[in-house]
Amino acid sequence: MNKTLTTITALGISCLAAAPIIASTPTEDQAAWQAYFQERFPQVPKDDFVNGVYSIDPVGRENWEAIEEFPPYEAAISDGEEMWNTPFANGKTYADCFPDGPGVAGKYPHWDKERGMVVTLPLAINECREANAEKPLKYKKGPIADLLAYMTYESRGGVVNVEIPEDDPRALAAYEAGKQFYFARRGQLNFSCASCHVGNSGTTLRTEILSPALGHTTHFPVYRSKWGEMGTLHRRYSGCNKQVRAKPFPAQGEEYRNLEYFMTYMNNGLELNGPGARK
């Protein structure tokens, strides 16, 4: 084999070797996770992982930086701002549900002890609407992505800081369920999320460079050129499930909320930089 071929082979070896089950705390997982990506991509400054695949793809990055000059998510931000400022039929507004203002994306997802579940920002938005006798919005695209774009934009510069409260074992269980989901193989093609975004991050699936999982949650919702519109994080989850021919789970169902809880916790310390643009 010549040198190029050897390199290709070396890159292809999955790094998730068969391993004994080692009980680990979320803090340990997080440290191992962040260290893993920093060692795998030593040329990428830690703060830059929030830029997804563009942190490791210099050519794609040039195009992307050009796109960011006139961001394709700008219309969504202003539409979302209008939603924020428009009263419901009962005269109340989103501000009545979110008294700290729109820039609260950094508080989600969080563990709601009273309800015993992970609450995400999209869920909180729809609960606000329903509490005010408005119809809930669809979760994957459309108006909810606009409102999220505005709230996320107002949250820029904050830092991801998800907590797993130690006094409620159900919070840990939700985290573990999300982690389990991330590493479980599924679908006819038998991939886990980790197959593509941990073990093979940085390699190519056909011509697509696989982005590192670190930073995956910081910039949603995104304007994706392939979609030609905005989409939420759970829309992306659903797409990644479908491409391995697995049945996607409902957006904002328990599975994806727990997955978001796990993934966002892994990103603690990174900057919130949404909304984003991706090809």
């Binding site: 070797a17 089950i21 080692i22 996770w33 795998r40 479980a184 193989r185 093609l189």
Partner: protein
């Protein structure tokens, strides 16, 4: 195995979890490995079929991915067509952590497509 560093292995170990061990139920059936090379090439290069090109460099195929090894000089790597077929039927038998899909076991390819792709890869 080319694991980049002991630390990586440590990180991987911490992160791995038991995947509710699914035993290979569908063993490779006894099928005649007498496929058609041209048809197999079609399977290997077509997105909706084998899409082997998504992960493997294949001579003559455009825009290969780089997740798996280049598929060249196969007969220097496999002593029999049946061994090769086993790898394509269910690569997790040899390596439980492999990302390559179990094309036979999960019915990604039907038996005809399967024997054709085996024939084609064997010819490389």
């Amino acid at each position: 195995m080319l694991l980049a560093s002991p630390q990586l292995r440590g990180a991987a170990a911490v992160l791995s979890i038991s995947l509710l061990g699914a035993p290979a139920v569908a063993d490779m059936p006894n099928i005649d490995l007498n496929g058609n090379v041209d048809a197999g090439k079609e399977v290997a290069l077509t997105r909706a079929k084998g899409n082997c090109i998504a992960c493997h460099l294949i001579p003559g195929g455009d825009s290969p991915g780089a997740i798996g090894p280049a598929l060249v000089a196969i007969q220097t790597r496999y002593s029999s067509k049946a061994d090769l077929a086993q790898q394509i039927w269910d690569p997790t038998v040899k390596n439980p952590d492999v990302v390559m899909p179990p094309f036979g076991k999960h019915g990604v390819l039907n038996n005809q497509e399967f024997v054709d792709v085996v024939e084609y890869i064997w010819s490389l």
